[in-house]
Amino acid sequence: MATVRVQEAHFDLGAESAALTSGRSDVGGLASFVGICRADDGLAAMTLEHYPAMTEAAIARIAAEAERRWPLTGCTVIHRVGRMLPGDPIVLVLTASAHRAAALESCAFLIDWLKTRAPFWKREEFADGTERWVEAKAEDDQAAERWQAA
């Protein structure tokens, strides 16, 4: 059963990693992905909006699919919402397994599906005061689709 949290607060990669490994001897690999707010095109800040009633359930469904496909000993997904500045962490995916392939592949699967199947929307603010909603990218759809056949 994965740990899923949606929160405004920062997360602690070290503490979350320790939570998946401490006190057990069956974990052979721990993979992590941290998504970070980039300052493209003069971006000053980014605000993440979500659909509160749906978000955690949608992420939990994606995590359950990862657990169905790979033999994971642990899985944590933390997605932040609210206003973020360049350099701020946005999302954490952690997967633990006896062997590296399952940990690495499931981590990539989770972030690919999170980008296309979890109800979050990013609004960008620029230094000149303009704002715009981020548009969904075709390459994100393609990245998510490569997992369909598995």
Partner: protein
């Protein structure tokens, strides 16, 4: 029925949420609900001007134009998601 709007769909409609006690008889799925909503105001029309750019969820599950809707449902409209 509760109808929720997110991101630029919310901004164009000008509201985050609407409640409907009675819906026209012809509203039976997401597609017919969109047609009903789009006629409510210029803001609604702008939000739904390009249906391919608007996604939907019925009772917190992703839906398609053919997904049935009924009184009591929570239906949400939003752009393609951009999290992660």
């Amino acid at each position: 029925m509760r109808v929720l709007y997110f991101a630029w769909v919310r901004q164009k409609v000008g509201a985050a949420e609407e409640a409907f006690d009675d819906l026209p008889a012809g509203v039976h799925d997401v597609g017919s609900l969109v047609a009903f909503l789009a006629a409510r105001s210029p803001g609604h029309a702008a939000a739904f001007a390009n249906p391919r750019q608007v996604r939907a969820a019925v009772n917190q599950e992703f839906a398609t134009p053919g997904t049935p809707v009924k009184p009591g449902d929570e239906v949400a409209f939003f752009p393609p998601v951009t999290g992660g």
